[in-house]
């Protein structure tokens, strides 16, 4: 029902109003989308399509193997979950996708638009080049004029269409009284076409139609590479968001009904089941349970919540069902209030100017002055307007940033492709450049350097009968500490003790009867155990009035965390642990991983300030975090990475998303980013050398259209090949 209400035309006005900024899905008819991570061949495609088409309410189903998903056009009333079940029965892993979160259409349309212009420019450039070759090899008089006129007839409409993006960007920059790379490009194209037309009208020898088109073609190729690399990363990031379908159970007439989160209103009664995230802020009306607040505060220890307590959106209910009354929905929830923090923090980052823009700032005025000087010099010396304008056009074409326009996108595409293969999605265009400058890495603790799932630390000090009893009591509970006990016991192959009449008291623990005695496992306060343990612990009451036994836990570090810290330190980077959790667990994790320093008990705003202080001290900070409490700091840092398990808000605030459980690729990302920046600078050097060689020729009036075409193509090719070298290195 949910996926339908977000798109269907016949849904209620509330549903239509809420997701107003969302875009229609890829196929106009496709109402539902499923993610199929395991499909890989034609047999999978055929089976999935056949089993879906066999469903009576499905009108059409089409698998997309590249994106590993299926789009289904189905009758109203069919839910994505029903269809996912159909596909799973056919033996494939299937997850429902929130079609509203997949606005792939926009990025795809932009990519298609550039590709179309690229094709037109390529077609025109090839034909004009053919005609130009004839002119260069000696066509004269009427033949040359005819070839020039035909070239002009092809070039003018082709450029009017394909060079539009440059014209538009240049105009926007000039209106804002700035200079960007598009200004010299536009000037070169326009001047080349104007002088060539003039020359052709006077039956002149040189025309630069081919150069203007080749320039457009190479530069569009750079833009297209750029767009494609980012669209791949964005599509993968969108898929992560779409997998989290925003759902809630609203209680109506005493019956829970599944609805979209966007239709929830103030005062609605909502059921939050164990394991579910609270969709809105609210007050607990009924039930008692333990709540995992780690996404908001970074604490690993669950908090006890009872009727009358407040609950914020984003908190995870662990043990018992809770009924809450909504006190804030949508943009008013505490979860969204963090967005304001992000906006403030982000304003600092937008001051970053990319390497390409910095190069353009140096380059654009230089080229214009040079070309103007050449024009004036020749005008004074020869007094011939036509010759001087020709020289000025030649200077602009030769120096035009063809190689500069390719230098950055070719490198970032190659580098992002390499990182993508290692499980890193580079979402932002300048993320790699900023990453290369990093000298300090700040990690969040819970969920980032640790798994957020605890592990028993004093398991070996328990006697076999104690272990068996704890195992038996823990088995029935979904509490993370119970799960940790179950895991430890199962790993050792222990048989659970025999207990009966087992009941769970949400928020406290579990109790049961063992040989007539009451035994309990749960919060130390509930059992009456004295604790001086800092950190996670549970108590085991073995009955018979015996002393309760304490079981302690710790959060286990992620795979590769230790190696990552070593490798980062080897690269001369300072690593800091920053957490909202209490001092003791933070210090112990920092010591265990050998991190340089740590800071504990930080509120979201304090995290932002912490990062800001480092930035003010001249540091370039990489923030790695997953929680909602990190979003501000992620946005404030020079560059940021979040794991794929992070909440949507944190992923949206960060530049790079890390897929998989291993933290190791972060070190690769840093190394690749540094390599990429090195290549970009090399490319700038290569482009400059070409200019230094070719510009004197152009100023001296020796640059024929043939020399211009050669210089442009060779510099573009050298730059692209140099960029591709990144791919090869492992």
């Amino acid at each position: 029902m949910t996926a339908l209400t977000t798109n269907g035309p016949a849904s209620c006005p509330g549903c239509l109003a809420a997701p107003a900024d969302r875009v229609d899905p890829v196929l106009p008819d496709a109402k539902l989308a499923l993610s199929l991570p395991t499909i890989h061949c034609q047999a999978c495609i055929a089976t999935v399509e056949k089993c879906l088409n066999a469903h009576e309410d499905v009108r059409a189903a089409r698998v997309n193997l590249t994106r590993k998903r299926v789009l289904v056009d189905a009758a109203p009333g069919v839910t994505a979950r029903d269809l996912a079940q159909v596909v799973m029965d056919a033996g494939f892993e299937a997850h429902e996708l929130d079609t509203a979160a997949l606005n792939q259409t926009q990025t795809d349309a932009a990519g298609r638009d550039i590709l179309m212009r690229l094709a037109v420019a390529g077609f025109a450039a090839m034909n004009v080049m053919l005609l130009s070759v004839a002119v260069w090899s000696g066509a004269t008089d009427a033949t040359r004029d005819m070839f020039h006129w035909i070239s002009a007839a092809i070039t003018l409409p082709a450029l009017a269409f394909s060079a539009q993006p440059f014209f538009r960007n240049a105009w926007a920059a000039l209106r804002a009284k700035r200079l960007n790379m598009d200004v010299p490009i536009t000037l070169a194209i326009v001047l080349a076409v104007v002088t060539s037309l003039w020359e052709t009208g006077l039956s002149g020898k040189h025309a630069y139609f081919d150069a203007a088109l080749a320039l457009t073609f190479f530069l569009l190729a750079g833009r297209w590479l750029d767009a494609r690399a980012r669209s791949a990363a964005r599509s993968a990031a969108e898929e992560l968001t779409a997998l989290e379908v925003p759902r809630a159970w609203r209680i109506e007439n005493g019956e829970p009904e599944e609805v979209n989160v966007s239709v929830l209103r103030l005062g609605d009664h909502i059921l939050v089941r164990p394991g579910a995230r609270a969709p809105v802020d609210g007050v607990i009306l009924q039930g008692a349970s333990e709540v995992d607040r780690s996404a908001l505060t970074g604490e690993t220890m669950p908090a006890l919540r009872q009727a009358g307590d407040a609950m914020s959106a984003g908190e995870v209910n662990l043990t018992g069902p809770l009924t809450i009354k909504a006190t804030a929905v949508g943009v008013d929830t505490s979860l969204h209030q963090l967005a304001a923090l992000v906006a403030v923090a982000e304003s600092g980052r937008s001051r970053y100017t990319s390497l390409a823009d910095r190069a353009a700032k140096l380059y654009a005025p230089g080229v214009h002055i040079l070309s103007a000087l050449a024009f004036l010099g020749w005008l004074l010396w020869s007094g011939d307007m036509r010759v001087s304008l020709n020289i000025a056009a030649a200077v602009l074409i030769i120096t035009c940033p063809c190689a500069l326009g390719l230098a950055v996108p070719a490198v970032t595409t190659a580098a992002s492709g390499r990182l993508f293969a290692k499980g890193l999605l580079v979402k932002n265009a300048t993320a790699l450049e900023r990453l290369a400058e990093v000298d300090t890495v700040v990690f969040d603790k819970t969920g980032t350097v640790t798994m957020g799932t605890p592990r028993v630390t004093n398991w070996d000090s328990l006697t076999p009968s104690q272990k068996a009893l704890a195992y038996a009591l823990a088995q029935s509970s979904s509490h993370p500490l119970s799960q940790a006990i179950v895991q430890a016991a199962a790993a050792e192959g222990i048989e659970p003790a025999h207990v009966s009449a087992q009941t769970e008291r949400p928020g406290y623990g579990t109790m049961a009867l063992s040989e007539g005695d009451e035994v309990r496992l749960g919060r130390p306060e509930w059992i009456g155990a004295e604790t001086d343990v800092q950190g996670l612990c549970a108590a085991l009451d073995q009955g018979r009035g015996g002393e309760p036994l304490l079981i302690t836990f710790e959060d286990s570090p992620r795979d590769g965390a230790q190696a990552l810290m070593q490798s980062l330190k080897g690269q001369g980077v300072e690593v800091i642990l920053l957490s909202g959790d209490r001092e003791a667990p933070v210090a112990s994790v920092a010591a265990q991983l050998g991190m340089d320093s740590h800071a504990a008990e930080k509120l979201p705003q304090e995290k932002v300030d912490f990062v800001q202080r480092l930035t003010d001290a001249g540091r370039h900070v990489l923030m790695v975090g997953d929680g909602l409490n990190d979003t501000g700091a992620l946005a404030a840092a020079h560059v940021s990475i979040s794991p794929a398990q992070a909440l949507d808000a944190a992923r949206a605030a960060s530049d790079i998303v890390l897929l998989g459980q291993d933290l190791g690729p972060v070190a690769d990302a840093l190394a690749t980013a540094r390599l990429a920046t090195k290549r970009i600078n090399e490319n700038f050097t290569i482009a400059t050398i070409y200019n230094v060689v070719a510009v004197p020729l152009a100023v001296a009036g020796l640059a024929t259209p043939l020399i211009a075409a050669l210089a442009m193509s060779t510099s573009s090719l050298t730059v692209s090949v140099n960029a591709l070298r990144i791919r090869g290195r492992t």
């Binding site: 034609q42 495609i45 698998v63 179309m116 034909n127 033949t143 005819m146």
Partner: protein, 53 residues
Amino acid sequence: MNVLTYLIPISLILGGLGLAGFIYTLRSRQYEDPDGDSRRILSSEWDDKPRTD
């Protein structure tokens, strides 16, 4: 050189056909699923008659 009267239009038309073909494939979204399309051809599902849709 009179042969140019034919050759130039012919080369332009041939190139233009290629361009038109490319724009057609782009418009009809044939680049949405390159992996899938290269696999579908191996399936014997619609060998007898094309799928009607």
